[in-house]
Symmetry: C2
């Protein structure tokens, strides 16, 4: 592995309710200096849930995404609240967003979204042994819940409405995990 650059200085440069922008001044091991901007990572991270039912259908939600000003088909996900483990957060988010609890949770992978300028990490958790259970969340409107057969994943990822890289990755990894487990 290469020698990490030395962090010379971290300077906050802008702040809003949710976001904090920082300047990161670095000196690489070859002596070259660079100043990058990044979003500071706050909070306890987030979870993305691949809920798989007994028929190997996955639970998708259709929700409004403010960044793209459109509805999008994706996986349930959300921030880990203070004091929660990733598994507890996954179970809660699944109840709030999709109306299911899960008796069996498995951590699959910790992913990044855009590591060059964001520290955010999301833990992908497979949820099984599902049962109906609805918790009220802070959603402005009920999310549409869709069951999609994992066997038809290649069709899903071609849809224009299904675009979130982390969700595509999580589903492919889940399909592989279940195939190996079933061997």
């Amino acid at each position: 592995m290469p020698v990490k650059p030395e962090v010379l200085k971290v300077t906050p440069t802008a702040r809003s309710r949710l976001f904090q922008v920082e300047e990161l001044k670095l000196r690489f091991s070859n002596g070259v200096e660079r100043t990058y901007e990044r979003l500071a990572s706050r909070g306890n991270g987030a979870v993305m849930i691949v809920a798989v039912d007994a028929q190997e259908h996955v639970i998708l939600i259709r929700e409004y995404a403010g960044g793209i000003e459109d509805y999008t088909l994706t996986l349930p996900k959300g921030l880990i609240d203070p004091g929660e483990t990733p598994h507890i957060a996954a179970d809660r988010e699944l109840k709030e967003e999709a109306g299911f609890g899960a008796n069996r949770l498995h951590t699959l992978k910790k992913m990044t979204a855009a590591p060059n300028y964001m520290g955010h990490r999301i833990t992908v958790i497979i949820a099984r042994d599902l049962y109906p259970c609805k918790l009220e969340g802070d959603e402005p409107e009920p999310m549409e819940v869709i069951r999609w057969p994992l066997a038809r994943l290649d069709e899903l990822v071609l849809q224009d409405e299904f675009t979130e890289g982390r969700a595509i990755a999580a589903l492919y990894m889940t399909r592989h995990f279940l195939a190996v487990e079933g061997q």
Copy 2:
């Protein structure tokens, strides 16, 4: 499809060199109002390149990522410059970051990174018929270039150093695309 919420107001709330934060005031079709924060999308978008050589190895790069303050293994990617098509940008980035040009380019998918609070989109492009060609980019140090057999993708995604959701998604989609094409 649900009826989109009405955008009541978009207000810039913070700005740095790279980032602009906006408040998005919405009224959902059920009358509920919400104010979200998001990063405004600027520029012409970005490309992520899956370069596949004649032996079906993909080209990975190891680069320093400021957001996570560590080296990470990922796919070549970069912003589309003004006047460039996505294919021209993909060919240029591949030359700058990995030292290869490509005679054959195919657009696979337009992905989002975090659509709830970012408008950013990245176009995944498969690059084939590779030839050695190095262009100087603005990288602070040369990137390490690694060839990885696509047949061993499931091993790669388990590595702690390979975390970027969009790159995992792009590689799985490429493997499927090449398998279908080869049938």
